[in-house]
């Protein structure tokens, strides 16, 4: 591949814009070691007390565990619902399949503020507000379109020849699926799981409509905390979350390739 030399002007502008892009993530690191009671730059003293404060804050700790449990449950349910759906759409080719796929991925196009309001109104009349089940269903609506799209792509790039060979040799459709299709889909299923978990873990707008002070996810608890007072505790929590995300991203990059998962 022939390369064009990159001009100095472009290098400098790109570097400046990268600084802008990363500024909010870069700034939370020094802020998290602030010894001050409020957000101020530069901090007048340094300490790790805000990291301790994160773990002592019952609301944040509770919300963290709610988010993790919710993320895991949503990931499992997304796979249980989306794998059969993707298989039906790609391999069984029902009439109107394209139309159905558009319908199933449509929530992705809907602004979350509109989706959140719509769910609030319906769930209020069903009495599901502030319930774990309601929250689970809301997150499922948000993650399913991502999961289905990724699995449909995975399945349609698998050559059907192996499955056909197995079927010709007498394996029933269920056996073909379990012994051939599912193992071949494994990388795509891994990627879908990671994406579903991250999407659920980061979801905030729809959850804002569904949560109560008693049952809150971590992003919602952080939102209310920042709305109230932006103290360095959120910086410490942010650093922990960014580190967690970084670990997940690096693992994904090593195992399936980040480029493959996100840039198509």
């Amino acid at each position: 591949m022939d390369e064009r030399p990159i001009s100095r002007a472009l290098k400098l502008t790109a570097a400046a814009m990268f600084l802008l892009l990363l500024a909010p993530l870069l700034v939370v690191l020094p802020m998290s070691f602030s010894g001050d009671a409020y957000l101020a730059f530069p901090p007048s003293s340094w300490s790790t007390r805000w990291y301790g404060a994160v773990f002592k804050n019952a609301r944040m700790v509770d919300a963290f565990f709610v988010s993790v449990k919710l993320g895991l449950a949503v990931t499992v349910l997304s796979l249980l619902v989306a794998v059969p759906a993707a298989y039906a759409l790609v391999r069984l080719r029902p009439k109107g399949g394209g139309w159905l796929l558009a319908l199933f991925t449509a929530p992705l196009l809907l602004p979350t503020i509109v989706l959140g309001l719509g769910l609030l109104i319906v769930f209020a009349s069903l009495g599901w507000l502030g319930s774990a089940w309601g929250l689970l269903l809301c997150h499922l609506i948000v993650t399913l379109p991502y999961a289905l799209r990724m699995l449909v792509t995975t399945l349609s790039t698998l050559p059907p020849a192996v499955e056909e060979a197995a079927a010709t040799l007498g394996a029933s459709p269920a056996v073909v699926f379990r012994r051939i299709t599912l193992p071949l889909m494994a990388p795509g299923i891994m990627a879908t799981s990671v994406l579903s978990f991250l999407v659920s873990f980061d979801e905030v707008v729809v959850s804002l409509f569904m949560t109560t002070p008693k049952l809150s996810t971590l992003p919602v608890a952080m939102f209310h905390h920042v709305e109230d007072r932006a103290d360095p505790m959120v910086a410490a929590l942010s650093v922990l979350l960014v580190a967690l995300t970084l670990v997940v991203v690096l693992v994904v990059d090593r195992t399936i390739g980040l480029g493959r998962a996100f840039v198509k």
């Binding site: 990268f18 039906a88 609506i141 399913l144 939102f223 920042v226 979350l241």
Partner: protein, 297 residues
């Protein structure tokens, strides 16, 4: 669209089963997603249409009667027209700034290779995987009276702190940065059509760097620009977290008003009406995008 093409009926399924059985299997496998989609998407969205015409008391109690009051309010009450205009104006400004800030990064990424490129790509995607709350909080740390920029301004001898948040300036800065990854990825997809040999040909025929950019690079990148701008615009119209936190209740936009009407004022019919307005703005933006794409081919 590759995903839609993937399931186009180009060849019959070879399951060796009668068609009726296949259809039945497909229906069974699709049942859970149909149920969830209906309950969590179709019903809530159509219910918004109905809700926008429900009669409501000041207490938020819904009456079993229909009225066009919420829709009338939208056009008669100057506040809501102002709100709509504010939203469109601020979103258009954010879109433009996002494009200007993202273009150099995308062009640089397009021209770099190997591990360095992958590393930079991770840096572009990483913010996308970080909660909007965290990134907005980062901007508070930068823009507040005690923040990084004002500390720098003080060091340079400024007296009163610069007002960089709890106003439109803060919302515009924060959202521009938040939307940059979407724009960069769209631009990168658009740059795929840009063959480096074209630039070399133009340069060897005597075009200066600026002429090469204006006559070759920029025109060929326009589809990516259009896609990125559409994304940035619609995401900015519907974004809520950043305007709420950086606007501090002093910047009035459609999305923040929907939330306030739904949660604080408890006027669900008005909130529903405003959310349909958001969808209409989306539709118009999509239609405009379609026209632009047809023109630039």
């Amino acid at each position: 669209m590759t995903v839609a093409a993937a399931i186009a009926p180009t060849r019959p399924a070879k399951t060796g089963q009668p068609v009726a059985t296949t259809a039945l299997t497909a229906a069974t496998l699709l049942l859970p997603i149909v149920a969830i989609n209906t309950l969590g998407f179709l019903v809530p969205v159509f219910n918004l249409l109905l809700m926008s015409m429900r009669k409501v008391e000041a207490s938020g109690a819904l009456l079993d009667a229909w009225t066009a009051a919420s829709w009338l309010k939208l056009f008669v009450d100057g506040f809501y027209l102002q709100l709509l205009w504010n939203t469109v104006r601020v979103s258009a400004l954010i879109t433009l700034l996002t494009l200007l800030a993202s273009y150099p990064i995308a062009l640089y990424l397009h021209r770099s290779r190997g591990t360095w490129r992958n590393l930079l790509l991770v840096l572009v995607i990483a913010p996308l995987l970080t909660s909007a709350v965290v990134r907005t909080y980062g901007w508070i740390a930068i823009l507040s009276d005690q923040g990084v920029l004002n500390a720098a301004a003080r060091a340079l001898g400024a007296g009163a702190p610069l007002r960089l948040m709890f106003n439109e300036v803060g919302v515009v800065i924060g959202l521009t940065e938040i939307l940059m990854p979407y724009m960069i990825l769209s631009l990168l997809a658009g740059f795929g059509r840009l063959d480096p040999r074209l630039e070399e040909a133009a340069a060897s025929l005597g075009a200066g760097p600026f002429a090469v950019f204006r006559r070759v690079v920029l025109p060929l990148s326009l589809p990516g620009v259009a896609l990125g701008s559409l994304l940035a615009f619609v995401l900015s119209v519907s974004s809520f977290i950043t305007p709420k936190l950086l606007g501090g209740g002093r910047v009035f936009l459609l999305a923040t008003e929907i939330y306030d009407q739904a949660i604080v004022t408890l006027n669900w019919p008005l909130a529903a009406t405003l959310s349909i307005v958001v969808l209409l703005v989306f539709g118009l933006a999509l239609a405009a995008y379609g026209r632009v794409v047809r023109r630039i081919g």
